[in-house]
Amino acid sequence: MNGDLKSRLGKIVHYKLFLPLFCLFLVLMVNVITTPDFFHVEIRNGVLYGRPVDIINRASELVILAVGMTLVVAASAGTDISVGAVMAVTAAVTTFFLSGGEISVNEYQFPLFPAILLGIGAGALCGAWNGFLVAKMRIQPMVATLILYTAGRGIAQLITKGQITYIRVDSYQYIGNFLPGVPIPTPVFISIAVVILVQLFVKKTAFGLFVESVGVNKEASKHVGLKSVMIIFATYVFCGVLSGIAGIVASSRIYSADANNIGLNLELDAILAVALGGNSLGGGRFSILGSIIGAYTIQALTTTLYAIGVSADQIPVYKAIVVVIIVSLQSPEFQRYVRKFRKKLEAKKAIGEVTA
């Protein structure tokens, strides 16, 4: 009986998402002590209202980005640092069409859905450019995507003529806020849909396997007949499209395209989410679910620090401390140490039993 429980517990502990989930749990538990009403959720104004809703809602863009980043990391053993800038490009393109080049409009100058598709198309194009540089030209991913990281916001600025373009139409705000009569924020649906679709695509087709195999060994994969170049290219296009979707959500939240600030520094959070999810940044095996848990952990941390009322100048310090703890908890070296320590304990116990 006892052994059964132990082995079951052991199974849970060794489940590969245990650590990421445990870290998320830890962050949330802080609130039970500091902010007792943290988990209070009510219906207000016809919609769900409460901090947990905020976390799930606000993490949406990061979740979408993290999914794309996971694939890029797995296939190319490198990161796409242009995702934040690509978000800005997408937002700029979409609002450019919707506003017809004006600074602020009260009605669409162009139909909504084609404008969104054009925006996401621009994201795909950015992804294709990154993919071309990385897969075909064999430039290191960070260097290749550095180009759009710096140029992307410039392009977005050019499109918006350096102004914040406002789309003051209710239906444009549905994407980033609430659909009429629906109590759950729309970004939550979008992120869930993205996760399910990508997860299905990765698990139900051989694509996931291809990505892992290319990530583990590009040359070997080529010899068994996989088109490594095409697979790496595809992950970057994928990442571009997903950044585009995230860009539309972020733009809809503020019903405008703020080329300077949309997705600012989000690429770092996306990379962090992948790492917090227990994925190796060296490529190969990957877990999309892990990255998503990582993304929610990051947002939970931000919301928690707000709830505690940590002053603004100290927030980065606390974030850094938590990240250091989480990352070291998951490092192989630390886990080896824990195993060693446990063995030592067991050995001591055994010796104790023998002498007794």
């Binding site: 902010t35 207000r44 104004n45 919609v47 209202y49 409460g50 901090r51 905020d54 606000r58 602020s104 600025q157 350096g162 102004q163 914040i164 406002y166 806020n177 972020a250 939240r253 503020i254 405008s256 703020d258 300077n260 600030n261 949309i262 600012l264 931000t302 919301t303 707000y306 709830a307 009322g309 002053s311 603004a312 100048d313 927030i315």
Partner: protein
Amino acid sequence: MKKVVAVLLALMMVAGMVYAEDLITVGYAQVGAESDWRMANTKSFQDTFTPENGYQLIFDDAQQKQENQIRAIRNFIQREVDYIVVAPVVETGWETVLQEAYDAGIPVILSDRMMDVSDELYVAWVGGNFVKEGETAGHWLEDYLEKQGRADEDINIVTLQGTIGASAQVGRTEGFGNILAQHDNWHMLAMQTGEFTQAKGQEVMESFLHSYPDIDVVVCENDNMAFGAIDAIKAAGRTCGPDGDIIIFSFDAVRAAFDAMIAGDLNAAFECNPLHGPRVAEIIQKLENGESVDKIQYVDETYFDTTMDLEAIKATRAY
């Protein structure tokens, strides 16, 4: 071929000199074009320092990098401009290049932000007074509460701060804090950074509304954060503006802030005047006439609230 190019270049330079003979050349090392405010600031210089007004303006956009600005200033020195105007990206690291300008005998005027250098290296600084903006907002709130008959009530205030360490954030926090300290019944419940953006302003305001159910006043250290805060307030089923239950005001007073006031969502906006050009021209004229100038020169700044004819004012605004 090379020779032809060289001759042409030389000719152009001579032509440029002849052309610039009776014009005062001014080199402006601008930060970049990162915001509406910055662009209005650039335009103010371009509109003031025209050949018709007797100036030739050499404009340099540093794209928010100090090394570009230093290069631009060296370039100005080499071209022997009459005056150098700098809107520094950061406060430190300017001694060497300003010393070079000083040695070349070119007066340097600072615009917008301060430099951490010894006083003799620049002739004047022109800019907004962020502390005064904060105090103006505090006084406005005093008056507003007085008019509503709430002068003696307990007033709960939250602040959406700008990017921590930015001079606008530091000054506005300090200025409003000075007035806050004079009122025992004003309570600053929380201050948190919204990083000057609408998205962060909304997120932080959401959190404030969860933590503090009875907020009376929201101070937003720029307009964009106020737009986010207004959305968060409405999403929480509360109301704001002159007819709402939460008083909200912001700084900068860009065009969109006028829209928000006209829509009845925002109570007031406190101007941060970007039109530094005329004041700099005034200083240059004084220096040309051999007069002395004040070291610190604040541009005129005012505020706007919903009691004014906002449509009419908005039409006259340059940014």
